[in-house]
């Protein structure tokens, strides 16, 4: 309990982090409750096409090229972005942690092999690779999540490896080896919990990057065709950019705010979890 209040005290020291957390809370609330408050499919044609925002009270954010409600799309897109961001980051963390921990703990040839493997994935340009994977295997939401996870785990693996390499030399780990604790429990119960703080900081940035990647893919027409995401909306708005720029502008601002909030929270977590690094 005391640790928690200590954590919060350090986190709130940076005012922008608190702002980021509040912004994130609003976005999560909108994603959770929004589609209930404003019911109906975002694909449904409900009004006159090309209605500007703040003109028709029935469609506060206006309508798109076909007369679909933009507010519905935004609220629905918030769900998609958070869902894809969180699941892709979770999958990338799992891959990265397992590979990094094995490489750092067992060292030797396994370390060499795993790090060469990491190099391969780090060398292929991330966005291009995700783009190719989705293009080749089909544009379902699950494939988008898998593709994003596959391109974003290498930095986690490197980080966890570095932490594991230094932790395994520490006395508490050495004494676990001496008393004959199994390797699995040493890695998962002794080393990994202590390696977590920098990983947690990085994971909020991972979610942000995943959201940006998903938006880019669906903007380029490689999103799930049954899902209205913010990237899809920008893609739709692009065709009417000259006359109705608001169609592309509104979802873009949503992406910007979400990614900004996640980055600010990440900075706060960094202050709170790595207090010795603070203050530059």
């Amino acid at each position: 309990m005391e640790a928690l209040s200590d954590f919060w005290r350090r986190f709130r020291r940076r005012r922008t982090a608190v702002f980021g957390l509040a912004l994130m809370a609003v976005i999560v609330l909108l994603a959770a409750l929004g589609p209930m408050v404003v019911p109906g499919s975002p694909w449904e044609i409900v009004g006159t096409p090309f209605t500007f925002p703040f003109v028709d009270p029935a469609h506060p954010l206006g309508t798109d090229v076909l007369g679909r409600d933009i507010l519905r799309g935004i609220l629905n897109g918030a769900r998609v972005s958070l869902l894809v961001g969180l699941s892709a980051a979770a999958a990338a963390l799992t891959i990265g942690i397992v590979i990094g921990a094995c490489a750092g703990y067992f060292r030797g040839w396994l370390d060499d092999l795993l790090m060469r493997f990491t190099d391969v994935f780090q060398t292929i340009p991330n966005f291009l690779f995700a783009f190719v994977l989705v293009a080749m295997f089909g544009t379902s939401l699950v494939n988008v999540v898998i593709a994003i996870a596959l391109v974003s785990w290498p930095p986690i693996a490197r980080l966890v490896r570095a932490e594991t390499l230094s932790l395994r030399e520490r006395e508490f780990v050495q004494s676990c080896i001496v008393i004959g604790m199994g390797e699995g429990s040493i890695i998962f119960r002794q080393i990994l919990p202590n390696a977590m703080p920098p990983v947690i900081v990085m994971s909020s940035i991972m979610v942000a990057t995943a959201i940006l990647t998903e938006a880019g893919l669906s903007f380029l027409g490689l999103g799930d065709p049954n899902v209205m995401s913010w990237g899809t909306m920008i893609g739709i708005g692009r065709s009417a950019l000259r006359t109705a720029w608001y169609m592309a502008a509104i979802p873009g601002v949503c992406i910007l705010l979400t990614v900004l909030a996640l980055n600010l929270v990440g900075e706060g977590l960094n202050d709170a979890l790595n207090p010795h690094l603070k203050n530059r």
């Binding site: 060469r116 493997f117 190099d119 391969v120 780090q122 060398t123 292929i124 340009p125 991330n126 966005f127 291009l128 690779f129 783009f131 190719v132 994977l133 293009a135 080749m136 295997f137 089909g138 942000a208 940006l212 938006a215 880019g216 903007f219 380029l220 027409g221 490689l222 990237g231 920008i234 708005g237 692009r238 950019l241 000259r242 720029w245 592309a248 502008a249 873009g252 992406i255 910007l256 705010l257 990614v259 900004l260 980055n263 600010l264 530059r280």
Partner: protein
């Protein structure tokens, strides 16, 4: 610096292994994905009869066991043959080399803009640390870091092309323009402004934050205290002593960011119709031209490896303390 040659040989060896692994990975993707070239061609001219399709498969070598196909794939790439684009009726490598200059121009301009502006902003922020100037630059960097590239490009088009009519909406040349060499260079530069600035914004944010942190770190070192105590002017300390030492991590970042830059090029080139590699990959996806798509990936990865080696060498030249062994 004396053992540069063996170091270079080892790095090139490692790079070749990485590229080989990427080729295998690409080969696996090509074969795991549903449908092969013949299926695609058959879809093109309506369903062909099975005998003809089998004949085509034999012609392309698709009836061979996988390891034979992989061997052939390697052999071809070793001879700089990335396959044939049936859609464009041109070898893949020719298509790529044709588009390469446009992407290189875009990337170099982007790096130039991002590096210099990031450097300047980082230096200013570090010299005025914890003042409102510093805060303002931090907020700007955060915003730039969080903005989706393709969206920024679209908004740039709305503002600078549609509303203000200052810059072209896309493409690389003015269509139908009759220019001499000098005028067409200017014409390309004029078309380059928006795409390059769009792509540069994200990287500028990274360089700004890195430069600021790096400057502040050097400011804390003993030799700077010495410089202060012997009464050097603040400007001279910042530019003569801190900056040259703080710039090293920026060079490393330059190498690290090449992949991101190439990925961003896919989006920016699509938004601005810039005829480069990214646009080529985008078109390949929608023409279902998989040979071309995977050729682009292999080529882009090789470019990343090459530039990383070059950055490391440059780094070793910049900082003689770095042992290249």
């Amino acid at each position: 610096m004396k053992n540069l040659a063996p170091y270079l040989a080892r790095r090139i060896g490692q790079g070749l292994i990485t590229i080989a692994a990427i080729i295998v990975l690409n080969f696996m993707i090509l074969h795991l994905a549903p449908g092969d070239t013949v299926d695609l061609l058959a879809g093109e001219f309506g369903a062909g009869d099975p005998e003809y399709l089998a004949q085509l498969r034999a012609e392309f070598g698709l009836d061979q066991p996988l390891y034979v196909q992989l061997g052939q794939y390697f052999l071809n790439i070793a001879q700089f043959d990335l396959g044939y684009s049936y859609r464009n009726a041109t070898p893949v490598l020719d298509l790529i080399l044709d588009r390469l200059p446009a992407t290189l121009i875009l990337m170099l301009t982007t790096i130039l803009i991002a590096f210099t502006s990031g450097l300047l902003l980082g230096v200013v922020a570090a010299r005025r640390v914890n003042t409102w100037t510093d805060d303002l630059i931090s907020v700007l960097a955060l915003l730039c870091y969080a903005t989706p590239l393709f969206w920024l490009g679209l908004m740039g088009i709305v503002l600078f092309s549609v509303k203000l009519g200052l810059l072209p909406t896309g493409g690389m040349y003015t269509i139908g323009g009759r220019f001499n060499v000098w005028q067409s260079t200017l014409d390309v530069m004029w078309h380059l402004i928006l795409p390059a600035c769009t792509l540069a914004v994200y990287h500028m944010a990274i360089y700004t934050r890195l430069m600021r942190a790096s400057m502040l770190e050097v400011y804390n070192l003993d030799f700077i205290r010495t410089a202060r105590s012997k009464g050097l002017r603040r400007g001279r300390i910042a530019f003569g002593h801190v900056l040259p030492n703080a710039i090293l991590p920026m060079v490393t970042m330059l190498g690290v960011q090449v992949g991101t830059l190439l990925g961003g090029a896919v989006m920016v080139e699509t938004v601005f119709n810039w005829p480069g590699l990214g646009r080529l990959a985008f078109d390949a996806v929608f023409q279902r031209d998989y040979n071309l798509l995977l050729g682009t990936v292999i080529f882009a990865s090789a470019l990343v490896v090459l530039i990383n080696i070059a950055t490391d060498l440059f780094y070793a030249v910049l900082d003689p303390r770095i042992e290249v062994a």
